[in-house]
Symmetry: C2
Subunit: 309 residues, 2 copies
């Protein structure tokens, strides 16, 4: 299958590498020129269990992409999605399926401005990956993903794509309710990412705070009220207990969430507008009070202004 | 007049020094032994416009205070108030007036557990002072204070105390509504102190944030709803505009609020429970929703746990 990975950072490179290895015709598309250049010159460096290999996969800048693929997998940062879709509109063919694996909420609405609804697939990935530098991806651990078609008529096509992904070892499952999974994952990010960023702590430290149990429930409650407007039923207590399992250092406890890495460690803008900020914005639209998410969003934006000068 | 300054830190030392110079019989009472010892050995060092002087004023630990004064001026930290009142109960005479000049809310309720209501006076001070070290107070700028009796029958006595304070240059005014002034000052602390602590910034930096106007109004609105239960009418817009004047660096803009100094700079517990935390607590009692103050209180307590180990 002709597959374009659009947004070929850590996760995009992992997916691209695995799909390439399984025999698909993969192209990596990314706006980071140095990354693209190194991949084309030296190959993608793949680091797995300490072993390094160089893999030849074509890479290009978005504006250089010309060939229409069968499948596009989106892996940009949330705020990069819309500019990226504009840049690659030449390769959005009539039958090109577009699978969105970004973190956060509301991306289907953005994609629907550029892609026919019948071609849109939404997913949630539980794989992890890191970037050690331009052209150098580090693979750790196992994972899986869930995929579902946006348009009810496209179930067979969605299952075919799951099968292509699984043949590459990506462990893809067809989901009957991917929106539920997307919201549940957003609850994890909307509690741990933003709190660890505001408090400058890791997940384990956050979990040990006296205030943590009430804090995450107050946040999730507002997520659940907004999610209900989309037909997604989140059980606050169930979601909270799922999050509390992650505090364990043998899980992700020692980890600083990506938002902390972005803002506190690397002084970059965060994805807050696609997590707590989305709940806050949609709350206003639906006339649902979301004071906790309003304030969290404001505090993170305030920190962005103070830290990124 | 026999006056005991109870809590003789920066502000207490300033008041003690000025009242002593005006001919009152002042005693400084404080739980910080090193501070007390140096004052007794070398005198209180007063630094004013760069000039140093040593002033002999008796100082003692709370448990050593025996002589019942005519007036006690309370200047402890909020969380130190109740333990201090317990320690000095021997000097709380039948006719000893007790003037509370602490920052924060709810102190009159605490004092009323130890002092006959007719002896309680509440006040708000706009003086500033710093401590350069034990026994060393630094005086800067001018100030004033407002005072009012808790018990309506004690107006004459309250005015007499204002006059004693003004004779010492402290510029005291009798207030017909000191509770209003206390709440208005609490709004300043409840917006700037807590926000600058959470965001690790000074007042000027906070004032420049896009989020600042809405943030302070959301906080003040909840203060106003709770204050109304005490018969205090706060105009949210008026209070907010008053706070916005302080952003000017020629005012307090370059200043880090006391809560920032306590927690971020000196790794000490904050007075949050007597500011935003009071509004949050009383909100629950009165069935008023105070999500912004709930979350701010939680975040500051969480930071205390992370920073003070």
């Amino acid at each position: 299958m002709k597959i374009a990975i659009v947004g070929a950072g850590a996760m995009g490179s992992r997916y691209g590498y695995m799909l390439h290895k399984a025999g698909n015709k993969v192209t990596l598309i990314d706006a980071w020129k140095q990354h693209v250049d190194i991949i084309n010159k030296e190959g993608l460096t793949v680091e797995e269990n300490g072993a390094l290999s160089k893999v030849k996969i074509p890479a290009m800048l978005p504006e250089d992409a010309k060939e229409v693929p069968d499948l596009i997998i989106l892996f940009t940062k949330s705020m990069g999605l819309e500019p990226m879709l504009k840049s690659i509109k030449n390769i959005l063919g009539k039958n090109t399926r577009v699978l969105c694996l970004l973190n956060g909420l509301g991306h289907n609405e953005t994609i629907a401005k550029y892609v026919d609804r019948k071609n849109i697939l939404m997913g949630v990935t539980l794989w992890t990956a890191g970037l050690a530098g331009p052209g150098h991806v580090v693979l750790t651990g196992d994972g899986s993903l869930e995929v579902q078609n946006n348009d009810p008529s496209m179930k067979v096509e969605a299952k075919e794509i799951c099968s292509i992904l699984s043949q590459a070892g990506l462990n893809a499952h067809y989901s009957e309710d991917v929106l539920f999974s997307i919201w549940r994952k957003a609850c994890v990010n909307g509690t741990l990412n933003s709190s660890c960023t505001i408090l400058d702590c890791n997940i384990k430290e956050f979990g040990e705070l006296k205030e943590a149990p009430q804090l995450i429930r107050n946040i999730i409650k507002e997520f659940a009220e907004v999610a209900a407007k989309y037909g997604v039923k989140l059980n606050v207590e169930e979601v909270a207990e799922g999050i509390e399992k992650i505090y364990d250092p043998s899980q992700a406890g020692a980890h600083y969430p990506s938002m902390h890495q972005d803002l506190i460690q690397n002084h970059r803008l965060t994805e807050i507008d696609y997590i707590n900020g989305y709940v806050s914005r949609k709350g206003k639209e639906f006339n649902i009070n979301t004071p906790y998410n309003d304030l969290i969003t404001d505090i993170v934006h305030a920190k962005e202004q103070l830290i990124i000068k």
